[in-house]
């Protein structure tokens, strides 16, 4: 999700503040018992889903209350920006809602501070483990913390979108998009040369997911050291450097965020952009001209494992009504409700067997259907490449060092060595 990659300058400050406060009050009360009857009033917080799904969630909460007459649920929704800050403030102040919508990188600092319930260790929660796909459960498991800290919720992945008009203008066959990284780089070279440097192929510098998809080992096995400066990583960055020199990257690529890269694609300034299945709707609405020329193909990867983003629902360990909170988190993420939600917007359920449903296996002829089926197929065996311990600050470190390499101020090897060294240092501090 592009939003989650937003860089907030404040994040490191807040994260350290959270750790401080957590140490101070750490290990305090552990709230109520997780087994037993679901009762009491609890709060349930989602992340930026109110604007389109207000009725859906109100209905869902109503249904849960009907099934569990002793539970009262208060639904809150937080806006998109600065969600991490909001969570750490709530965690530090002891006002974290009972059930919280998190992604693994958001749950990591909270779990580390001992505020989230370890689902693998809590019998009342662990018994639901088999209802979810192993990849999704694994996706919420945090390294070094011995367990999973969130019920898997919706998954997100997507194809590679490309602009057929720009392909045609450069004299390339619009029906033959690049299939793997080598072809991607050849296409980019051709596009840049034939358009006289006017059409860039990609809008952004390689992010950590790109390294992952390229087959670079990102971290050592116990997630204590970064390893993306291995020869494979250097190879990828060297290729990007050539691309940048030939005009294959957008002129502002060094500073573009994921959101801005998407924007460049909408402006038809770059020819290719990796996206999510739900982007199709955005293209249709905001760039009808582009939508007519939109090409869709599988996102290239060298590992055979596509990338996915994982959302989850965590339970607050200090919750007074843990049984009710676990019941609600499971209810929202159970098979029926996940499938309902995924029918409303192009995301994917993480419950076992859901993706075998004809809705995700049979192409109904529409563009949406095609993207949905192709993406659902990708999800089998997909992994979340972004290491959960990779903080916003470390992402910035990588981005800066990559920029230095592309500008030629450092060799790719040197740049990645430096990025790894800095990130390792940050990792030790946290």
């Amino acid at each position: 999700m592009p939003r989650s990659r937003r860089t907030a300058a404040a994040a490191p400050l807040l994260a350290s503040a959270l750790l401080l406060t957590a140490c101070g009050s750490g290990g305090g009360s552990d709230g109520g018992a997780a087994d037993g009857k679901a009762a009491g009033s609890i709060t349930f917080q989602t992340w930026n889903l109110r604007s389109n799904f207000k009725d859906y969630f109100e209905g869902l909460v109503g249904e849960f209350e009907k099934q569990n007459p002793d539970v009262k649920v208060k639904w809150l929704d937080q806006p998109a920006d600065n969600y991490a800050e909001k969570l750490s403030a709530d965690a530090g102040g002891g006002t974290l809602p009972d059930v919280v919508n998190v992604s693994p990188d958001l749950s990591y600092p909270l779990a580390k501070a001992g505020i989230l319930l370890n689902l693998d260790r809590e019998k009342a929660a662990a018994k639901f483990k088999d209802e979810y796909t192993p990849e999704a459960w694994q996706g919420n498991t945090l390294p070094g913390l011995d367990g999973s800290y969130a019920f898997p919720w919706y998954l997100n992945t997507g194809p590679l979108f490309y602009n057929k008009a720009l392909f045609r203008q450069a004299g390339l066959d619009p029906e033959k998009p690049p299939k793997n990284y080598d072809e991607l780089f050849t296409t980019a070279d051709a596009l840049a040369k034939r358009s006289g440097g006017r059409t860039a192929t990609l809008a952004g510098t390689p992010s950590i997911e790109d390294f992952g998809r390229y087959g670079v080992r990102l971290m050592n096995a116990d997630a204590t050291k970064f390893t993306y400066n291995e020869p494979k990583g250097v190879e990828l960055l060297t290729k990007y450097k050539e691309l940048y020199a030939h005009g294959g990257l957008d002129s502002q690529a060094l500073t573009n965020t994921a959101d801005q890269s998407g924007q460049k694609f909408l402006e038809q300034k770059v020819a290719i952009n990796p996206g999510s299945a739900h982007d199709l709707d955005t293209f249709k609405k905001n760039a009808p001209g582009l939508y007519k020329e939109l090409g869709i193909t599988d996102a290239p990867n060298n590992t055979g494992k596509p990338n996915m983003y994982v959302m989850g629902l965590a339970v607050n360990k200090q919750s007074k009504h843990k049984a009710a909170a676990v019941a609600l988190a499971h209810f929202i993420t159970d098979r029926k409700n996940q499938e309902d939600f995924a029918h409303k917007v192009a995301v994917f359920p993480s419950t076992k067997g859901s993706l075998d449903d004809p809705y995700w296996t049979k192409d109904d002829g529409t563009d949406e259907g095609r993207v949905r089926v192709a993406s659902a197929k990708m999800l089998k065996g997909a992994v979340n490449y972004t290491p959960v311990v990779l903080s916003e600050e470390m992402k910035v470190v990588l981005k800066n060092e990559v920029a230095k390499a592309l500008q030629g101020r450092k060799s790719p090897q040197q740049a990645l060595d430096d990025a790894v060294a800095q990130s390792d240092k940050l990792l030790k501090q946290s």
Partner: protein, 276 residues
């Protein structure tokens, strides 16, 4: 003053137009985007400023997604309270720092300067736990409190008062005026310009603040406009037309306020700054 040659005049106007274009251009683009219909490409190059199918639908769309008037009312309450507390607090403190003699006066002045240097992010958790201990979490009072008397405003007022000639006040002392009378009757009316600056700054500060209200408010009924408008960036879809319409709604009151107070504003900016 010497006469300026035609060329130089043309150059000056050209530069001014260029700066005008840079500052106003993006805003005009937002304005035109907010009127664009659903079938139009928004991200064309070069940008199109005239909507092909003008519509007001985006504004009602904003109102459909979020209770925009409730949020605007919350924002207005916060902003107006903030203006009042800042005017009263900053002028009292500023007068004390500029005119009253007491022990540690310099130290107190220094404390305000130092306070300017503390970034909000570093104290936000402490503020938050403090509000929780006061049981003010999730209320508009908590939104107002930390910014109720801004350090910058106190310094602005201090400078404005310090620049008034002593003789006038001395004359008032001889006429038998006490401190309160001198403050209310003589000093305050002479710094009207700076008061306008403080009013505008604190209104803008409160109206535009995002991080603190976001952190201290959890219930969406109490959200202020800036926080509420953030809902327009949906997780799964971006509709820049709605975002543009929301932006215009948020900016309009600031423009109106500035238009009303701009007379005083420019006088005030000159008043405190250089003289002395």
């Amino acid at each position: 003053m010497t006469r300026i040659s035609g060329w130089e005049k043309a150059l000056r106007y050209l530069l001014m137009l260029a700066v005008l274009g840079i500052t106003v251009g993006p805003f005009l683009w937002q304005l035109s985007t907010s009127f664009k219909g659903a079938s139009e490409d928004i991200y064309t190059y070069p940008p199109g400023f005239l909507p092909e199918h003008p519509t007001l639908g985006n504004y009602s769309g904003v109102a459909d997604i979020i209770p925009v008037w409730d949020y605007a009312l919350n924002s207005l309450k916060v902003a107006l309270t903030n203006v009042v507390t800042n005017l009263v607090g900053a002028s009292l403190a500023g007068y004390a720092l500029a005119r009253l003699r007491f022990r540690g006066r310099r130290l107190a002045g220094l404390a305000f300067v130092v306070a300017l240097l503390v970034p909000l992010e570093s104290v936000v958790i402490a503020q938050f736990t403090m509000m929780r201990d006061l049981h003010l979490n999730n209320t508009l009072t908590a939104v107002v409190l930390p910014g109720a008397v801004g350090a910058l405003n106190v310094l602005l007022m201090r400078n404005a008062f310090a620049n008034l000639p002593y003789e006038i006040e001395e004359a008032a002392v001889i006429d038998g005026a006490n401190v309160w009378q001198r403050f209310l009757r003589i000093a305050l009316p002479s710094v009207r310009g700076t008061l306008a600056v403080v009013a505008i700054f604190s209104f803008m500060g409160a109206w535009d603040d995002f991080l603190w209200p976001l952190i201290v408010l959890s219930d969406s009924d109490h959200f202020t406009l800036t926080v509420g408008l953030n809902y327009l960036h949906g997780t799964f879809q971006q509709n820049p037309r709605l975002v543009a319409a929301g932006t215009i709604v948020a900016v309009a009151p600031l423009i109106v306020l500035f238009a009303c107070l701009q007379r005083y504003f420019f006088r005030g900016v000159g008043e405190g700054a250089v003289k002395g």
